[in-house]
């Protein structure tokens, strides 16, 4: 019996942060309050695709209790992701961010959203990935609807030969719907500036990825950006985005006060990130004894409107 048996194998590791979750002492992002903190709200597109011909947030900015407003006309020019400006004059899904407001409390911020006048020119849109790839389909982004411009192909062996050897060939098409990961904790971000240094508390599975996106969007060195994810009410992929934090940071910079933006459950469902809907056609060649000779599969994945953290 070796004496230098590793001491961790076969042992349960203690859940170091579970006690504080059990007592309510754990601070999730929504539980954090900073002195002078304002509350932000986001105006969202009612159209699946539209150009914003005009936007006037003057009345919202003048509402007592409102401290900062950001619209596509005055947003900084950096990008949250290669295909995502901070705010755009083109909106691409129902719920896409149009403008944001920070005020003393959520009710005032919500009231201010109602004072923002937006003139939309609706554009043609497509919601099914199969139609999105047809000739003449309305482009979601300039350059076409196929992310990356060409299909991702993985091949091994001689597929044609495999089908030639098959006794029987089966072909079926399967679909899966988009779905919301629906973590119990809605998305939330807090931003605060100290001189030119930014601190963000956000729900995050990758604080360094968020740090890079914030630095890129705000065009500041990444070493001036700190991102903290304290306890998180799970993510399942739906929290891998940074635009919410960027909007909080822009509002905080303008108001010179910390800003928190908490999404409602409705916003999570309408404007949250979803798992891709898929359409998969599989063709399988088999011998009469059941041995598989070839598989050919094509999957069309309906990617989110913005690639944010990557193409998949």
């Amino acid at each position: 019996m070796p004496t230098n048996q590793p001491s961790i194998i076969g042992k349960s590791a203690p859940r170091l942060r579970l006690p504080e979750a059990l007592t309510g002492e754990a601070k999730f992002v929504a539980d954090i309050k900073l002195p002078g903190m304002l509350h932000g709200k986001i105006l969202r597109s009612p159209y699946a695709h539209a150009r914003i011909a005009a936007i006037d947030a003057g009345a919202a900015a003048r509402l007592p209790g409102v401290h900062a407003v950001v619209t596509p006309n005055d947003a900084p020019h950096g990008r949250v992701a290669p295909d995502m400006p901070i705010l755009d004059t083109e909106v691409r899904f129902v719920g896409d961010e149009v403008a944001a407001v920070a005020a003393d409390d959520e009710e005032t911020a919500q009231g201010a959203l109602g004072l923002i006048e937006v003139e939309y020119q609706p554009l043609p849109f497509v919601t099914d990935a199969r139609f999105a790839l047809e000739q003449g389909a309305p482009p979601v982004h300039a350059g076409g609807n196929l992310v990356g411009g060409k299909p991702l192909t993985l091949a091994r062996g001689d597929v044609d030969d495999g089908f030639a050897q098959a006794d029987r060939i089966f072909e079926e098409t399967f679909t899966t719907p988009a779905h919301s990961p629906a973590s119990l904790e809605p998305r939330v971000a807090i931003a605060t500036w100290e001189a030119d240094r930014l601190t963000v508390w956000k729900v995050s599975r990758g604080v360094h990825m968020d740090q890079r996106a914030l630095a890129m969007a705000l065009e500041i060195p990444s070493e001036t950006v700190r991102v903290i994810c304290p306890h998180m009410g799970a993510g399942y992929g739906g929290k891998d985005e940074t635009r919410l934090a960027v909007l909080a940071a822009v509002l905080a910079q303008r108001a010179r006060r910390p800003v928190k933006i908490e999404l409602t459950r409705e916003e999570e469902i309408v404007a949250g990130r979803t798992r891709h809907a898929t359409v998969t056609t599989v063709k399988v060649g088999v011998k009469n004894d059941g041995a598989i000779t070839a598989i050919h599969a094509t999957t069309i994945m309906l990617s989110p409107t913005y690639s944010t953290t990557g193409t998949l």
Partner: protein, 165 residues
Amino acid sequence: MTASSKATITLTVNHQAHRLEVEHPWTLLHVLRDLLDLTGTKRGCDRAECGACTVLLDGVPVYACQMLALQVGGRAVVTIEGLGDVQHLDPLQQAFLDNDGAQCGYCTPGFVLSAKALLDQNPDPTELEIRRALSGNLCRCNAYGRIIESVKAAAQLLSEAQPRP
């Protein structure tokens, strides 16, 4: 915005009496989290769908997001902060810790309070009774199996601590 009407209520929270000026539309959830800083009570949906905001109102589990502050004047609320703290876990919390009864922990305060209401009424519940008592709480991490084991273990711990006559 038009000024909302205000009212003064008294509210006992975790055995401490408070006199609070509240606006008519405010929910108990808002009062607990934003006025009293009791952020252990969570907001998952604000619409009676998830149970993250569960608190005990005169011993009965309720969704704090669905009670107006005006409705609870004069009544007694227990939130998760009214149980143990990390140095002194309540036996129920200890059972959740020992049985890994949580993943992310966001639903956890609500589950613990629903379980407390059950065990206060029924110290020796069947599994079906546990499942029914927790049916108003959602866990998106799907820790249900461990949660149910935790409640069973808590019933055991409590019966050992206070043997019934």
